[in-house]
């Protein structure tokens, strides 16, 4: 096993125990919120997932800038992987938020500015993944992906500031009104543990996915090479 693989394996084990530890804090350390009851505990991982969604799209935009300036192909699979993982965490944030909203807001969904901008952000990045599939040339695809990731990043601050600048019923945990939710220090510590665990989980997933994405590209090139060789042999016959 190479030292890179060994490091990744160790990181994967560390992440597993960090997420387990954060979940244990949710279950046994954080108190039950007075107004909302136990469903408020979904919020700890919901906030962490939303944070990772935005962080992932930032990573994709930074990789896009690096690709355009340095022209190194390595940034393309990282950007692609970051977007895919970002969408996963955005979906987790959206669905867990809906489950929290049902008993608290008495509805699964409302066209609140935060929920709407979050959905726009998710569709922006679904578009990135779909449109990439339409480009066969790896360099064109990487260039297109880089430009898209940079422009698409505009949806991230729009989502982040929507609950701070617009009238919304969504609680704003950092630098805003927490609504009906009374957060104690144990709750903040639990949320911090969740954010740290998910950030390390994101790093591990990004590492795994980038390796696989780079391998996918290599295999595509190998397939093209094999088909060219086989086609040449058929023509010679």
């Amino acid at each position: 096993m190479s030292s890179e693989n060994k490091k990744l394996k160790i990181l994967s084990y560390v992440v597993f125990f960090m997420v387990l530890g954060a979940f244990a804090m949710v279950l046994f350390y954080a108190p039950i919120e007075q107004n909302m009851g136990i469903v408020q505990k979904v919020f700890f991982f919901h906030v962490s997932a939303a944070w990772i969604g935005m962080l992932a799209f930032l990573v994709a935009a930074v990789c896009g800038i690096l690709y355009l300036t340095k022209k190194r192909m390595i940034f393309d699979p990282i950007a692609f992987s970051a977007v895919e993982i970002g969408l996963l965490f955005t979906a987790i944030a959206n669905f867990s938020g809906m489950i929290w909203a049902k008993p608290i807001w008495n509805t699964w969904w409302t066209w609140d500015p935060r929920l709407t901008t979050m959905t726009i952000m998710a569709f922006t990045y679904i578009g990135y993944l779909l449109l990439r599939r339409g480009v066969d040339n790896p360099e064109k695809r990487a260039r297109f992906g880089a430009v898209y990731a940079i422009i698409g990043f505009a949806s991230v601050p729009l989502t982040f500031f929507s609950s701070r600048l617009l009238r919304t019923i969504h609680p704003t945990i950092f630098g805003g009104d927490t609504g009906d939710m009374a957060m104690t220090s144990a709750m903040y510590q639990t949320m911090a543990a969740g954010i740290v665990a998910f950030t390390v989980l994101f790093a591990a997933l990004l590492w795994h996915r980038s390796i696989l994405a780079a391998r996918e590209m290599e295999i595509d090139a190998l397939r093209a090479q094999t088909e060219t060789l086989e086609f040449g042999e058929v023509q010679d016959d």
């Binding site: 136990i38 469903v39 505990k41 979904v42 489950i99 008993p103 696989l212 295999i219």
Partner: protein
């Protein structure tokens, strides 16, 4: 307030989606190993 079932559902969704994505990565790795082996044999 009794909303325990929503709490369970919330964490089932969170860990379910994470687990599904990890399984997808494992399946992708297996597929790539197989494809690479096939292509190298053809060459």
């Amino acid at each position: 307030m009794t909303n325990f079932s929503y709490f369970i559902a919330g964490y089932l969704v969170i860990f379910g989606l994470l687990g599904a994505y990890i399984l997808r990565l494992i399946a992708l790795k297996k597929r790539l190993d197989k494809e690479e082996k096939e292509l190298l044999t053809r060459q």
